[in-house]
């Protein structure tokens, strides 16, 4: 495999590892726990994403969905925990507490009785993504209505929220329909994945990198 082919195939992973490296550089022991958990998760996600890609490319294991079911479930819980400590609205905080109970229950029920663990859990993914969009929009609304005059472009959480807004906004409809598309229009699903979903992955990681760099600047 030529280097060019490798880059074309794995370019989203490059962004993923770039985000991971910046997250590790930003990590400080004295940081609030919700930031530390997020940074560690970015590192973990890069590993899982790479493992998923290697499984498909080199071992021809086409069904790596169980891996993504797991990591997406964890991802939702970590982002919800992060927003629990960042958002000020009491209502949203209560919704997050409800999410901590409802989502794992739904995830388990879906894994055991509805879609199964080895099929992509589109229901859980769409439900979780809906909540993530709600939290991201809530944070952006909080920034919009805030009276503080500090630049929003120096606020790491603003960049994180933007990253998740675009990422889940683009991914939720696709992943929600993915099982159907794979069975009925595989080529469209594949091309859409390569052109749109991979791009959204890169966009998310780029915005996360900007957020981490803002965090680093703030710490100075």
């Amino acid at each position: 495999m030529s280097i060019l082919r490798f880059l074309i195939d794995f370019y989203p992973l490059i962004f993923s590892w770039a985000a991971c490296i910046v997250a590790l550089i930003t990590f400080r022991r004295w940081m609030p726990l919700h930031f530390k958990v997020l940074l560690v998760f970015v590192f973990l996600y890069a590993f899982v994403d790479t493992a998923g890609a290697i499984m498909v490319r080199y071992y021809e294991i086409n069904n790596n969905h169980f891996l993504y079911n797991l990591i997406w479930g964890v991802q939702y819980m970590i982002i919800a925990y992060f927003y629990y400590h960042t958002l000020q609205s009491r209502i949203i905080k209560k919704i997050i507490l409800g999410f901590f109970v409802v989502f794992p229950l739904f995830f388990i029920i879906n894994a055991y009785w509805i879609q199964g663990f080895y099929t992509l859990q589109t229901y859980s993914i769409v439900l979780g993504a809906g909540f993530m969009l709600l939290f991201a929009v809530s944070y952006i609304w909080q920034v919009y209505t805030s009276t503080e005059t500090q630049s929003i472009f120096r606020d790491p959480v603003f960049w994180f929220s933007l990253a998740w807004l675009f990422y889940y906004g683009i991914n939720a409809p696709y992943l929600g329909m993915l099982n159907y598309l794979l069975n009925n229009s595989y080529d469209f699903a594949f091309n859409y994945y390569v052109m749109v979903i991979d791009f959204s992955d890169c966009l998310r990681n780029s915005l996360l990198i900007i957020g981490f760099l803002c965090m680093k600047a703030l710490m100075k």
């Binding site: 929009v137 952006i140 920034v143 919009y144 009276t147 005059t149 630049s151 929003i152 603003f158 933007l162 807004l165 675009f166 906004g169 683009i170 409809p173 696709y174 329909m177 159907y180 598309l181 009925n184 229009s185 469209f188 859409y192 749109v196």
Partner: protein, 268 residues
């Protein structure tokens, strides 16, 4: 079946486009809001800086007026009183003991007045004297000085304030009072001045009235005269502390200035 899959594809594409557009709109809305907030912050900083500049200018003006009044006081009162005391203490060979003793007592009384005057002068030389003295006492002291010129009959009605006003309000109100007195001295040709300072529960009223020749308000506003700029200054200073300023005047029927400060103890 084929139509159904096409609908799904279309829904997916449209929803993705809509969400991306929504995200972009949000970013633009935030940008506009941020810019607006930044401009607002800048405007506030400008207003604050202008306000502080005016306060400083007003304090300097008060200081300048105070120095003028001190100079006048030293010349008219202290100087003449010292001369009087010197004359009284002069011993003429023709004077008997009783006369010398009477003169000595009178000289002591005059010296007492001089000491009081000098104390007042020393106090007014302190840049914080207005705040330390309080508005009521500063008005009393300035009125006393004016009364000593014997050109005016002064009536002062002051209902004491339960506590001190904040510095800016005192500076502005005192400057309005000084400006009004200056106008009376320069233009009014009056011989009677009435000053009222009334503290009420939620407002402070200050009134300065004279029996001078009065003026045509519309003319005073049109001309770029000393009196016109003085009136504008008073109005401007009132606005700066959120007070209302009204002036009533008629030819040959005197002038009345009323300033009402709502919530006088609220901080600016």
């Amino acid at each position: 079946m084929h139509e159904s899959i096409n609908e799904v594809k279309l829904t997916l594409i449209i929803s993705t486009v809509l969400i991306v557009l929504f995200g972009i709109v949000i970013v633009f809305a935030l940008l506009i809001q941020y810019k607006r907030r930044f401009l607002h912050k800048q405007q506030l900083a400008e207003i604050k800086s202008r306000y502080e500049k005016t306060i400083l200018q007003t304090e300097l003006k008060i200081l300048e007026d105070t120095y003028k009044s001190i100079s006048q006081n030293l010349h008219d009162n202290v100087g003449s009183n010292i001369s009087t005391a010197m004359l009284l203490l002069y011993k003429d060979e023709k004077m008997n003991t009783e006369e010398i003793e009477t003169n000595r007592k009178e000289a002591l009384a005059v010296l007492g007045i001089i000491v009081d005057d000098l104390k007042n002068i020393a106090r007014s030389l302190n840049p914080d004297y207005l705040y330390e003295l309080g508005l009521s006492d500063a008005i009393r002291q300035r009125s006393d000085q004016l009364e000593k010129t014997k050109r005016y009959e002064l009536e002062l009605y002051i209902k004491e304030a339960p506590r001190k006003l904040d510095r800016q309000k005192q500076v502005m109100l005192f400057s309005i009072f000084q400006e009004a007195l200056n106008n009376i001295q320069k233009h009014a040709n009056a011989n009677k001045i009435i000053v009222r300072l009334n503290y009420e529960e939620n407002r402070l009223l200050m009134q300065i009235k004279d029996n001078g020749k009065g003026f045509d308000k519309s003319e005073a506003g049109k001309k770029n005269s000393d009196k016109g700029s003085g009136l504008l200054n008073m109005k401007h200073h009132s606005e700066m502390i959120g007070a209302s300023f009204t002036i009533e005047s008629e030819i040959d029927r005197g002038t009345e200035i009323n300033i009402t400060v709502p919530e006088p103890y609220a901080y600016l």
